[in-house]
Symmetry: C2
Subunit: 331 residues, 2 copies
């Protein structure tokens, strides 16, 4: 297994990116190829014990910053760590690409410069895996495509279903459209038009519409939405969780007895933080490309980068790309 | 103040509806007009101490059930409690209409049969007020219009802004579009097209796009979205809060020490439940009609009904309808 880590990706690059690569190399003994400013990478590597690890450095002259416009970077920064790193995957010199950089940049470079779309794929989708009480749900698209056509939703469903089946081992994953109600007639025109196409898609176990609550009750394995709605859904979920945490913090500190209660309950809160922590959840998968691409949060720490590498290697091991190709070819 | 309460609204009608009306009449000394099956209402009233309360009963022969299709009830059930109750408001025999019934039914009957749209209003919007750490935010539309045109969003902003200013006392309320990012270029085509119209609207303090997190950080007083996105946002927020509560419950019960901590912290959790409890938050306001209409949750208990009455009377006292008329006429 050879995994490229974009050393110039995270908000605080290259520190967290390099440390995450070191942690990953140590944990799985994979070859990790750090791409970016060679001198800065070497300086970071010198701060860690890298003895016996399969770490490689490939130099890239340019950096795609968070503030760069995706439409300008493909041609404007041809020597960026993203360009160089993805070219390694395209040339089969690496198996997966991981970056905590500019999501629009990753999307643009992967679609237009290297790796590129699987034949038949209209638009790649960003996919995330959310934890809930009894398991997990695979969501797509969470932000790559703000405006979608109905047939794009079908492809998102096929790709996320392949992910659930191949990578997570779910048999015949249930696939639902995210909607404002489960009854017939609910949904917007996109949902109404997508419905018959979802029903007609081959190899897709479409179960209809579900609402956010049902999504988190384990009623579906895959949830499909346009990138705008999916992004709002994901961020609203996170915001709800954050709001309640803050209320709890405030109200527990408001009294002596409740403060003691909060201290005693701390191990429980710590376990929960670990479940809902973005660093533990890791990155988003960019589905629909001829290679495994993982996009981690810009604010990723080393743990988040390591977990993104884990997601990359899991997708490679599971043969995700071939599974998506087969599913798209069948439809 | 004379407020109509639909006695046949809630999932468990007429019990919670009648009891809520009694609580409201007792608290504010308003005249509450219960509309619905006279015998069943009288039987419920007999269970409460109604001495000295201004309670009136108006009979209605039919009931719009939760399972009824909104498109069929306007003409199909002309003697429903909604028809009869809204006609009272239209005839100026009452000042506001409150129902925990079929939301689509309320929307259809109010738009097509009685009360009707304010001149110039394209589509009424459902509006809710969310609590957050430092205050509240008024959201519209949360579900009346799944597909929206840009000019509808502008009207939602004007109406919700009038609500924030008149009813909540916010001076020059900040109004934002809910989007998947605050940077230029983010948003879907609806957001892009609405942006210049929002900027051009008279009397609208438009501050641009905000994400769910910023919405709950107090960065805006009003949040505008199409009814599909708004419904998903609201339900995702609620689902995030519910998911975290369940995780906390499970993890606190998982150990003896954390269980004791949970018991000691209970008063804090109780205070929080009260803040995020739908029964305390009350109903949604249907904005854009020639009268005050409040739609409470179907699962409302008596407290939720009472709080919906409170919202109705607050809107009447604040002169909300006139404020909306002025704002729409100006644009």
């Amino acid at each position: 297994m050879r995994i490229v880590v974009d050393a110039m990706g995270s908000d605080n690059y290259p520190g967290p990116d390099v440390e995450g690569a070191v942690l990953a190399a140590r944990e799985w003994n994979d070859e990790i190829i750090l791409v970016g400013d060679e001198k800065r990478i070497e300086a970071e590597l010198a701060r860690h014990d890298t003895g016996g690890l399969l770490l490689k450095v490939v130099h890239a002259d340019q950096v795609i910053e968070m503030t760069d416009k995706p439409s300008e970077v493909v041609k404007g920064k041809p020597d960026s760590s993203m360009h160089v790193g993805m070219k390694l995957v395209e040339a089969d010199e690496a198996d997966a690409f991981v970056s905590a950089g500019n999501t629009g940049g990753v999307l643009a470079v992967s679609t237009l410069y290297a790796i590129k779309r699987i034949k038949g794929i209209k638009r790649p989708a960003l996919s995330a895996v959310f934890p809930h009480l009894t398991g997990q749900v695979v969501a797509a698209d969470i932000g790559a495509n703000a405006d979608c056509k109905p047939d794009m939703l079908v492809q998102f469903g096929l790709m996320a279903s392949a992910y659930a089946e191949q990578v997570m081992g779910v048999k015949e994953p249930r696939v639902a459209l995210l909607s404002n109600g489960e009854e017939e007639g609910k949904g917007n025109s996109l949902i109404h038009e997508a419905d018959p196409l979802m029903r007609a898609a081959k190899g897709l176990n479409f179960i209809g519409n579900v609402e956010p609550k049902e999504m988190l009750s384990g009623e579906t394995d895959v949830i499909v939405h346009d990138g705008f709605t999916g992004n709002i859904m994901m961020k609203s979920l996170e915001s709800g969780i954050m709001l309640l945490s803050k209320f709890i913090d405030r109200e527990i500190r408001a009294g002596a007895m409740t403060s003691v209660g909060g201290l005693l309950a701390k191990p429980a809160f710590k376990r929960i933080s670990k479940i809902v922590d973005p660093a533990e959840i890791g990155g988003a998968r960019l589905l629909g490309l001829n290679g495994v691409v993982i996009v981690a949060h810009g604010r990723s720490d080393a743990t988040a980068i390591k977990n993104a590498v884990r997601q990359g290697r899991e997708a490679v091991q599971a043969g995700l790309i071939e599974a998506i190709k087969d599913s798209i070819a069948e439809n």
